[in-house]
Amino acid sequence: MNEQATTGRQVLLQGNEAMVEGALAAGCTFFAGYPITPATEISEVMSVKLPAVGGTFIQMEDEIASMGAIIGASLAGAKSMTATSGPGFSLMQENLGFACVAEVPCVVVNVMRGGPSTGLPTNVSQGDVMQARWGTHGDHPIIVLAVSSTKDCFDITVKAFNLAEKYRTPVIILSDEVVGHTREKINLPHPGEIEVIDRIRPNMPPEWYVPYEDNSRGVPPMGIFGDGYRYHVTGLIHDVRGFPTQRPDEIVPFLNRIHRKISQHFFDILMVEEELAEDAEILVVAYGSVARSAKRAVREARQRGVKAGLLQLITLWPFPRQILEPYLRKVKAVLVPELNMGQVSREVKRINQGVTRVETINRIDGNLITPEEILVRLIKM
């Protein structure tokens, strides 16, 4: 995570508002969205701030349209973003897959609320971890980041844009109702203090440009509409020129490349925070707002002589397996508290393969897991 600058401007912001600040700092110039609790403030603040910096905000007719619009804008050179919650996130899935296959950078925020369906519109949840990974059809690569604080909402949104640009991929940010609506004081760094990454553009003569050609990074340079590199963009599986193909010898390398461009850069994409984890006997694995409760619980457990530690996941997908595995061999038990019926814990158990004991706390009543709940369990464990 970015080190927070100390020289910046101190402000009191909601998580949702901080996301807008992060997006603008990262160079976002286009936002399309459709109102939905608890993400609406992101649209509202975008509609105020984007035009002031020369960008464009548009409220589309639904989330399908919002997703389409941000892809179109990105292809025409803008850094683009949308924000929604569960029901809208479901509607975005088809076009999200398009962005994966056509390799269009963009950022999709899902401020999670209780589901399924209309669910619990004003309550917190972490029910969309698996949808974020597998929501669109077919095997596809994706990057999913989780935020746990107002500061994260700024920093991780900048990161999300950077990763999207660097790897030509949609990046999903999972926030939740508590993070989105909690007001906290943060330092907004000055523009020059933030690392901002832009997509690599082609610089060869246009007639040499092969838009989907593999290279050592697995990420081809991206021509944008109007810059002279005319090419074809499609959701069909395509050859290196961008044209639809049904040839096995073109299909397989393409699908392998778009997966490899993420897996090959795993350690660049991977973000976790460790708190008292090094010598921990019980490891709490948490993310999002629950990680806040977990942090406090772990500290208090230490005061009571329980050697607990926290592994906070910021990158949820690709799953930080390489970080988790050494812990699994070291600790006596793992505790995964989350606001769903066991989505990240399922992945932890899958990786664990019975090496250590994995326990869970699952809360689905629309309320946050408290530090006390985690502490009580840690003491029992």
């Binding site: 110039t29 286009f30 399309a32 105020v48 701030k49 984007l50 035009p51 002031a52 020369g54 464009t56 548009i58 589309m60 007719e61 639904d62 399908i64 349209a65 919002s66 997703m67 389409g68 619009a69 941000i70 892809i71 179109g72 804008a73 990105s74 292809l75 025409a76 050179g77 803008a78 683009s80 088809e94 076009n95 398009f98 509409f225 109007g226 810059d227 002279g228 005319r230 090419y231 074809h232 963009v233 499609t234 959701g235 069909l236 020129r241 044209f243 639809p244």
Partner: protein, 280 residues
């Protein structure tokens, strides 16, 4: 070189996978020809044109031409086009859709794009059927017609695409046919030039999936039908209603000046800047 050969050399992607996917005699090729002639007359740079399409036989049209081409998802072409245009208003953004694409799955986007009035050109190839998926009924399949999902007969009532666009607020709406190919390229040219959201509904033929099943003959007979049933808007205005019963109008249905979204948005930017400056 013959004029048409020059156009072929200039605009088609030779390195691409010709032959194309369409059936011999399909109206899609005529629409592509009309579009190329219109663009050539306008003299736009190929770099400045973005051709966007949805999914269907019609949706395959952009892949053959040497513009910036974007083949999107079924029904959503206008949403992608909206993003492209807003991100770079200097680009000429032209959207190709099928009847199912534009008015069934994409119906909501279509009416809202018309209402919003971005400077986009929408060309809808209306062949009264879902061609690509093999002949299921669409929102423009006539009442009583046959389709693979209406083997007993279609009991739904058809949209008039052009009239829908007029009502939804499009700045310019025209209807042409693939039979009237010369009129078609003029309508398309006018639509591209129109500042605001313009729609050209193209009455086309899918003899393979619609004509055959409904005993309307092959491509030639279906084009003949278009010739026999099309009436120019100006002429229709002077004809009694009874005579127009089995006819449809071709030409420009509406051409009006409306505020353009991107122009309006410039003013929003100014207002936002002023507000931010005042707060500082």
């Amino acid at each position: 070189m013959a004029e048409v050969t020059k156009l072929i050399h200039k605009y088609l992607r030779h390195d691409k996978k010709f032959p194309h996917v369409w059936c011999p005699g399909c109206g899609n090729g005529i629409v592509l020809g009309a579009l190329i002639r219109a663009i050539d007359r306008l003299g736009y740079e190929k770099d400045d044109i973005v051709l966007v399409s949805g999914i269907g036989c019609s949706g395959r049209l952009p892949v053959y031409v040497d513009f910036n081409t974007l083949h999107t998802t079924h029904g959503r072409a206008l949403t992608f086009a909206t993003g492209v245009k807003l991100a770079n208003p200097k680009l000429h953004v032209i959207v190709i859709m099928g009847d199912g694409d534009a008015t069934a799955i994409g119906g909501n986007h279509f009416i809202h794009a018309a209402r919003r009035n971005l400077n986009l050109t929408a060309i809808i190839i209306n062949n009264n059927i879902y061609g690509m998926t093999g002949g299921q009924y669409s929102p423009t399949t006539p009442y009583g017609a046959l389709a693979t999902t209406a083997v007993y007969r279609n009991i739904e009532h058809a949209f008039s695409i052009a009239e829908l666009a007029v009502t939804a607020g499009a700045a310019m709406v025209a209807r042409g046919t693939v039979y009237h190919a010369n009129m078609l390229d003029k309508l398309i040219e006018k639509a591209i030039l129109k500042r605001g959201f313009s729609v050209v509904e193209v009455v086309s033929n899918c003899h393979t999936q619609y004509g055959r099943r409904n005993k309307l003959g092959g491509a030639v007979q279906m084009l003949q039908w278009q010739k026999d049933h099309a009436v120019r808007v100006e002429k229709a205005a002077e004809m009694p209603e009874e005579e127009l019963a089995d006819k449809f109008t071709v030409g420009v249905l509406v051409d009006r000046d409306l505020p353009i979204y991107t122009e309006e948005y410039k003013k929003i930017r100014e207002a936002a800047r002023a507000k931010m400056a005042a707060m500082r």
